[in-house]
């Protein structure tokens, strides 16, 4: 490891890049991707971007925050930050996470146990600013110096040095977007300190006080969702059209009549997909339709605002946006009078609506919510459809979406299904609640500005890529088709980009997809060949 040392207080220093990640430092990938010079070259951040935006962290940028043009602008930036910092620790502004945040602020023993757990820190070859505790320590020192009583003159002695200037502010904002919020580090902390939570809280401070957030999550995400109905930009009319096309395709492909029901009052189930599936992986909502119809479920989709898009990007950056979207989802269910919401294959939507929103949805908004994985398990394991596992006789591994598994404890339903229908199923190492993030978590999968996508492919997604290659270690030959089951839209987005970037389909015939596709692929009474290997 040859990174220069970066101390916590260095965050305020006027260096060009605080700590870039040279390609030569990255953790080597397994064979056949172990020769660095044969891998795609990382894009550098353009000089134009450096000129215009504050990019002095690590050679990439998410927030594209313009450089302050005057000392006055610098001062205002710092003042707004301080105002937000104070609010982060007030009950009226942050009751949602105040207790967990305060405990994480006050009790870190700086033992670095968390560092070993972080895929980004490991993949980068241990870039010191990617240590999960680095950004936490910056916030901790600022909090203790400027917010907590008794900060004052003794603060440097008690808590360590920190200088607050506009560089500190913008670098801290960027640093909050070098964490996938997967909480693997929190799981390993012997005390219970949660660095993922701290990154989340930093993001909130910048969004809720200073309107600094990635446009992909805000303008193009939650705002668009509440304006037109979906963060994909699809209105109700468009989504109905698209689903109609998908139904026709499914009917052709499976030989089974499929017609997706819309706005059925009193249905048992309101199924909410991540609307990105409808555009990027139409076979996924299509397969849901095939399975639900074949199983004879009483189900419907909703055409209400956000009722057909389970995305809730507020989970990643803003409590108010989060609560608003969650209320839209619950209201859509309430309006139809369904018995429960079933969430399609989208990890963050699962956690957002089932767990995080649980205490926000009070009174008649407290509609029951359930994972599609348990619904599917019930259908498959109780033989409500008939399966022929020999149709899935190819190597299959499972990616565990952090939000469903580590953050919700939904571990076994998807495995029980795979063990039944995929004779060559094998686990990744590690898996289950110890899994690694795909590298696209917390919204990264949809962030492609400047050279950030290269950062995703080379750094945040590196560990998952290594795990996939290792899971198929003995069958990497391209004559053997292989399948990574990733029952999460965001994870699939990251895997799509990652596998494409490294040319994995061409070199090794590794395909990715959801769980429902595998189920339909082996359904009896359905034409064989639902998974279209060549159409990847």
């Amino acid at each position: 490891m040859s990174y220069k040392r970066v101390r916590v207080e260095d965050i305020s220093k006027p260096a060009r890049d605080l700590s870039p990640t040279p390609t030569g430092e990255l953790k080597p990938l397994p064979s056949p991707f172990d020769k660095q010079d044969e891998l795609p070259k990382r894009k550098e951040l353009s000089e134009a971007a450096r000129e215009k935006f504050e990019c002095d962290l690590d050679g990439t940028v998410v927030l594209s925050h313009p450089k302050p043009e005057s000392p006055e602008e610098e001062r205002v930036l710092v003042e707004k930050f301080l105002s937000g910092l104070e609010k982060l620790f007030q009950a009226e502004n942050n009751w949602t996470f105040l207790q967990p945040l305060l405990l994480s602020m006050d009790h870190c023993a700086r033992c670095h146990t968390c560092s070993e757990a972080c895929h980004i820190y490991e993949a980068s070859g241990e870039n010191p600013i990617y240590r999960p505790s680095y950004r936490s320590e910056v916030l901790r020192r600022l909090y203790k110096k400027y917010v907590k009583k008794g900060g004052g003159l003794l603060s440097d002695f008690r808590n360590g040095r920190i200088v607050l200037n506009w560089k500190t502010v913008i670098r801290l904002a960027e640093l909050a977007y070098r964490c996938n919020l997967c909480r693997r580090c929190a799981q390993t902390c012997p005390i219970g300190v949660d660095n993922g939570l701290i990154a989340h809280e930093i993001r909130k401070l910048f969004s809720m006080e200073m309107s600094i957030m990635p446009k992909e999550l805000h303008e193009q995400g939650s705002m668009q969702q509440m304006k037109v109905g979906s963060s994909t930009g699809m209105s109700a009319l468009v989504v109905k059209d698209n689903i109609e096309f998908i139904d026709e395709d499914m009917t052709d492909l499976t030989g089974m009549e499929v017609k997706t029901p819309w706005d059925v009052e009193g249905a048992d189930i309101l199924l909410i997909h991540n609307a990105g599936e409808i555009l990027a992986w139409p076979e996924n909502p299509g397969a849901f339709g095939v399975i639900f119809e074949a199983a004879g479920l009483s189900w419907t989709l909703s055409s209400e605002i956000a009722g057909y898009d389970s995305i809730n990007y507020g989970l990643f950056y803003d409590d108010a946006q989060f609560a608003r979207v969650a209320i839209h989802h619950a209201s859509a269910a309430k309006k139809l009078g369904v018995k429960k919401i079933v969430l399609g294959e989208c990890g963050h939507a699962h956690k957002a609506l089932t767990v995080i929103a649980d205490r926000v949805l009070v009174g008649d908004l407290a509609v029951h919510r359930e994972s599609a994985l348990t619904t599917l398990e019930d259908i498959v394991m109780n033989n409500r459809i008939q399966c022929d596992p020999s149709r899935n006789d190819f190597p299959v591994t499972l990616h565990d979406p952090c939000n469903m598994v580590r953050n919700m404890g939904i571990v076994e339903p998807q495995r029980r299904v795979l063990r039944k229908i995929c004779p060559q199923f094998r686990e990744m190492t590690p898996h289950g609640v110890d899994n690694y993030c795909c590298g696209g978590g917390s919204g990264f999968a949809i962030m492609n500005g400047h050279n950030f996508s290269d950062w995703r492919y080379h750094i945040s997604g590196r560990k998952k890529f290594e795990q996939i290659l290792n899971a198929f270690r003995d069958e990497l030959d391209p004559s053997i088709p292989k399948y990574v089951c990733a029952p999460c839209s965001n994870c699939k987005g990251q895997l799509r980009d990652l596998l494409d970037y490294y040319g994995v389909w061409e070199k090794n015939r590794i395909l990715y997809g959801g769980l429902v596709e595998l189920i339909v692929n082996c359904m009896e009474g359905v034409k064989p060949g639902f998974i279209e290997w060549e159409w990847h």
Binding site: G84, K87, W95, V193, E209, S211, K215, M226, A320
Partner: protein, 323 residues
Amino acid sequence: MSLDAVLILVTYACALVFVVSVITRFVKIARLPVHVRWELYPVAHEKGRAGYGGSRLEELDWWTRPIRKSLLGEMKVMIPEILFLAGVRHKNPSQWLRSFPFHFGLYLFIGTILLLLGGGLAGALGADFGASAGFFTGLIATLTPVFGFAGLGLGLIGSIALLMRRLGNVEYREYTSPADFFNLLFFVAAFGVALIAQAAGDADFARMRGFFAGLLTGGPHQAALGVTPLMAAAIILLTLLIAYIPLTHMSHFFTKYFMYHDIRWNDEPLIVGGRLEAKMMGVLGLKPTWAAPHIGADGTRTWVDVATTNPTDAPAVGKDAAE
């Protein structure tokens, strides 16, 4: 005022600071507003599922199923975690080699205090710890020096090892504040002086037991043998240390309860009409003041108002509008 009396006063004062600090902080944390769910799996009380990290959310119509919690499951995690620092041993073995003796030394030190309190009480009531000691007083007399020397010794070794790592390893040093160094030095000094004091002048801890008898009777007990000056220094250092711990991040010895039970393992679902919902109604009535225009908070609108407003309905102002 005699030295014994001064020591007794200092000990009482420090014990009071310790108790008041712990209670104040405990109450303060417990009274923080209810937060959203933020559990992390495995959740140890998930009966039959904790082993692999599963939850009740794996079940079809999970809200219709009885909640099956296992206290034994929690014990199976907490006991090895508290006693042997199982998490650190598994995830950070090199740190565990330093941290375990330090913490286990502290546990034995606490055990020593309890034995001294028991012995002091028995002594104050006239029990004999000499040749004609009974079974329990004999046991106390035997165990006290074992616990005492082992505790002080392990604590000293552990605190020196932790200090050396923080001084010698740049990755640790950069995250260590001057106060952290002070804390470790404080432990080294207190344990070191106590170890020497006991070894040099009170190897069977009889004098210390006498001091505790004096503590319990509110003054130097007639049976007190009198502490040596070195023991007096040790008592002052150790009692100040005990008073100091809950004022620092080392208060995790009790706040860890909240970090596990209130956060990591808190999977309590909201039940309409239940206790949790009532609490939620309270916090949803709080009035935020976040300044970003899309929040629409002005200090008069509640969280319910904010959450039920669609920000795209109203014309945005400020930066949101510009974008």
